[in-house]
């Protein structure tokens, strides 16, 4: 799996202002990650595609204006992506992802350990939107608490508390068989 160090990322972000190849590298690297994040948050392939499209268009605009400086590009992307999802929810008065559309999607391979994944997801989508966001960023996207805090505009303490509550809720629901 390709890894991008923060130093490499900073260099690419700087280069991307003048060189499309650098932007291409950032795109290739972050598109799958963001798409995964958007898909698990929205539960819809179509919505995930819309969200990541807007995110990269915004990223390009901000890069060209030199506005992504002194910030981790990765955190910036997730933050913008999250805001777009929330904006979409606001517009549609929808507060959470609808689970069924997730399972309608053929791009997700559930053949392996399907039962466990179904249970995990069913419980996951019963959490509050904030708890879902924290757990996705922290455990599915493998970001640090500090990065999640930056993306969500919260203190690290608040993020840890949300993660703790989210995991605990999931555990309890699964134990009760509500998953």
């Amino acid at each position: 799996m390709e890894v991008l160090t923060s130093e490499q990322e900073l260099h690419l972000v700087k280069q991307a202002q003048i060189e499309i190849a650098a932007f291409s590298r950032l795109y290739q690297f972050y598109l799958p990650k963001l798409y995964n994040y958007a898909f698990y948050r929205t539960g819809s392939k179509q919505e995930a595609e819309d969200v990541v499209s807007f995110t990269f268009i915004k990223a390009l605009e901000h890069l060209k204006k030199g506005e992504i400086k002194n910030i981790s590009f990765k955190n910036w992307l997730y933050k913008v992506c999250s805001n777009i999802i929330i904006d979409n929810w606001r517009k549609s008065s929808r507060a959470e992802c609808a689970l069924p559309c997730y399972f309608d999607n053929n791009d997700v391979d559930f053949s392996e350990k399907i039962d466990d994944k179904l249970i995990i997801l069913q419980t996951f989508y019963q959490l509050s939107a904030e708890q879902q966001q924290v757990l996705l960023l922290r455990y599915v996207q493998d970001l640090s608490i500090c990065q999640v805090a930056e993306i969500m505009g919260k203190s690290e303490g608040a993020v840890k508390q949300l993660a703790y509550r989210g995991l605990k809720n999931m555990k309890e629901r699964m134990a009760q068989g509500n998953g």
């Binding site: 923060s6 499309i20 799958p32 698990y40 517009k91 507060a95 703790y164």
Partner: protein
């Protein structure tokens, strides 16, 4: 280790690990490629270093990118579509041509603005339920002025924000500084649009080296709500005090609203959103959303986390003649103006107007001078699909120019020959047939490794497949490295030869042009598809809707061919007006115009320019809904293109006159 921390670690090991094992979702390759194509185009479109160059078409142009600030960058609430108004008869205020927000509508009452101009997506008929009062014949227009004008002014303010040794970014180019610059110091970030006086501030509470993800003693709080150390009244006082310290507290009367984000049902940062709006100024009207405002977000501990400021002060005023309500309603029915309802998704409905009031809204001159322009706000009930809800609709009451040919068009080219009828076309509705696929595979010399219903993979890594988003197709050849570089002219000749021989082409080929997306590695050459002599174009610059793109490595080896948005004839014909009649309509201000580098559409009946020179006139197909990825209907229009001069700025324009003959 306390119990909670231990519990947390156990949960992470169990549930956290199971979450991390969730399956990756694969990105659709077509989507990935399509998005990248769009981004590449946008990259080069917005890159001031690279010019968008046409090849051998006689219309080569070097865009003066960055001459105008992108409208989207001002502030979401004032996203504008542009209309110019001839206000030269007013003497009290020296004004440039005015850009006014006339064609914006909001979805779901949000600030998201979409432009309309051709066939609008808004399918609302506005009706007057009861007789409205007569609109006043005259109204006031106000010129506004930002309190801060120079970089030094903003640097002084930055220091008052607590920024130590603030650094100005964007100083490299004087042009850039005049449009946008940012000031950075540690965690403080200030973005400034000096011409319009808009600025945004953000305190970013992080450092790049803060990468610790482990639990630290004492950092986990028992309860998130315990973070809140201030209340709403304290937040208001903090916001006021902060603005006072910055010398940015409005001199005019204002009122404040506060939103406690703890009550939000969606994940947002915790704190208080304090919003300042005018209380007694012309734009102190709650129905008009595009007025001046300041928003300051105060964190739970009383710190300013971010702020956006758009409050230029009143400078001058002048009396101007106003349009009447009938004209305003006609404009709304054409799809102009803002339409606000709680939920609207483009469905057909009737807006029954019950009330009207006059307010003011922000608009900007072509030099970004802010103005408050008289605006009427209609209110009533909107009925669609058996539901009824309250609505407001606002539109500026600026009077249209009475003069003919307000754009001062001079026609410097011959009119095209009159075609009495034109074929109607539509986007192709199905992918490649098996025979077409085979024929293309044979043309590209693909030795089949595998074949599926709509794609063929070659033994040397080539691929050929139809593209589901537009029913075009894409061929990709072998990867290749080269050090040799052909000239552009030679590359175009090679591309032309390939294009001429491709077996599956929906029309004939137009003149080639070099796309600015090839970068260092490729020459990317486009050929518009021409349908019985007529291209399919976008209303905005640069481009074509239906075309083929050939990418060659710099040594001339073929890399890819992408056939985009092929069209097919519908078998129906449209009766057309003559070019002479179209010219007459142009001179009578009956057209819709797009101007390079400016966002949105200008309507001929409210556009004025010092001089506009037409150098090309042609029949073109236009998508009726250019804002959508796919448009169901296409229509024929006469396109008059050339250069227009407004307030000393010369810009490329395209004015579209409908070509359909009315019954």
């Amino acid at each position: 280790m306390d119990n909670q921390k231990k519990d947390f670690l156990e949960l992470e090991l169990d549930i956290g690990r199971r979450l991390s094992n969730l399956t990756d979702v694969h990105v659709d390759e077509e989507f990935k490629n399509k998005l990248w194509e769009d981004l590449k185009f946008k990259y080069n479109e917005t890159n001031p270093v690279k010019a968008n160059k046409t090849y051998n078409t006689g219309t080569a142009k070097c865009k003066k990118k960055g001459l105008y600030m992108k409208w989207g960058a001002i502030a979401v609430a004032v996203l504008l579509v542009i209309t110019f108004l001839p206000l030269r008869e007013t003497n009290d205020v020296e004004m440039s041509s005015l850009l006014s927000p006339t064609q914006v509508f909001a979805l779901g009452g949000s600030d998201l603005a979409l432009d309309a101009g051709f066939n609008t997506l808004r399918d609302v008929r506005f009706e007057v339920k009861e007789a409205l009062p007569t609109a006043p014949p005259k109204g006031q227009i106000f010129r506004l002025q930002s309190k801060l004008t120079t970089v030094d002014d903003y640097l002084r303010m930055a220091k008052n924000m607590g920024m130590k040794n603030p650094e100005v970014m964007g100083k490299e180019s004087q042009e850039s500084v005049s449009q946008f610059f940012s000031i950075i110091s540690g965690k403080h970030y200030l973005m400034v649009w000096p011409k319009s006086g808009v600025w945004e501030y953000e305190y970013r509470d992080y450092e790049l080296d803060e990468l610790d993800s482990d639990l630290e003693e004492g950092k986990v709080k028992e309860n998130v709500e315990d973070d809140q150390k201030i209340d709403q009244e304290m937040a208001k006082a903090i916001a006021e005090e902060w603005l006072k310290k910055l010398e940015q507290l409005p001199h005019e009367k204002y009122k404040m609203t506060v939103e406690d984000t703890r009550n939000s049902d969606i994940p947002v940062a915790l704190g208080f959103n304090v919003v300042f709006i005018p209380e007694s100024s012309p734009d102190a009207n709650k129905s008009v959303e595009t007025g001046r405002r300041i928003r300051i977000f105060i964190g739970t501990e009383g710190q300013v986390i971010n702020a956006s400021y758009n409050w230029p002060e009143l400078k001058e005023t002048s009396e101007i003649p106003l349009a009447d309500y009938t004209e305003a309603i006609e404009a709304l029915n054409r799809g102009e103006g803002r339409f606000n309802v709680k939920r609207y998704w483009g469905e057909k409905g009737v807006a029954s107007i019950e009330d009207v009031e006059i307010g003011h809204q922000l608009a900007y001159g072509i030099d970004y001078t802010p103005y408050l322009v008289p605006t009427c706000i209609f209110a009533g009930k909107f009925t669609s699909q058996e539901t009824t809800q309250d609505f407001t609709a606002s539109i500026p009451l600026l009077k249209k120019p009475a003069m003919k040919n307000a754009a001062n068009f001079a026609i410097k080219t011959k009119l095209p020959e009159y075609r009495k009828k034109g074929n109607l076309i539509a986007e192709r509705q199905q992918g490649l047939t098996q025979a077409e696929l085979e024929s293309l595979a044979s043309f590209f010399g693909i030795e089949k490794k595998s074949q599926e219903e709509n794609s063929i993979n070659g033994t040397k890594g080539e691929e050929l497949h139809y593209t589901s988003y537009d029913y075009g197709w894409l061929y990709r050849g072998q990867t290749h490295t080269t050090t040799k570089q052909l000239s552009e002219e030679k590359a175009v000749q090679i591309a032309q030869k390939i294009a001429n021989d491709i077996p599956v082409v929906p029309g004939t080929l137009g003149k080639p042009w070099i796309l600015p997306t090839g970068g260092e590695e490729f020459y990317t050459i486009g050929f518009p598809f021409i349908y019985e002599g007529i291209p399919v174009v976008t209303p905005s610059f640069p481009g074509y809707v239906s075309y083929i793109v050939i990418s060659l490595y710099k040594d001339g080896t073929l890399w890819s061919v992408d056939s985009k948005m092929p069209m097919e004839a519908m078998g129906e014909k449209m009766k057309l007006i003559s070019p002479q009649e179209a010219k007459q309509m142009l001179l009578e201000n009956d057209y819709i115009m797009t101007i390079d580098n400016l966002f949105g559409y200008s309507y001929g009946d409210r556009f004025a320019a010092d001089k506009s020179t037409v150098t090309k006139i042609e029949l073109v197909y236009i998508p009726c809904h250019p804002e959508l990825a796919r448009s169901k209907d296409y229509t024929l229009m006469y396109r008059f293109s050339g250069k227009t001069i407004i307030s000393g700025n010369e810009m490329d324009f395209a004015a579209f006159v409908r070509a359909q003959k009315e019954h």
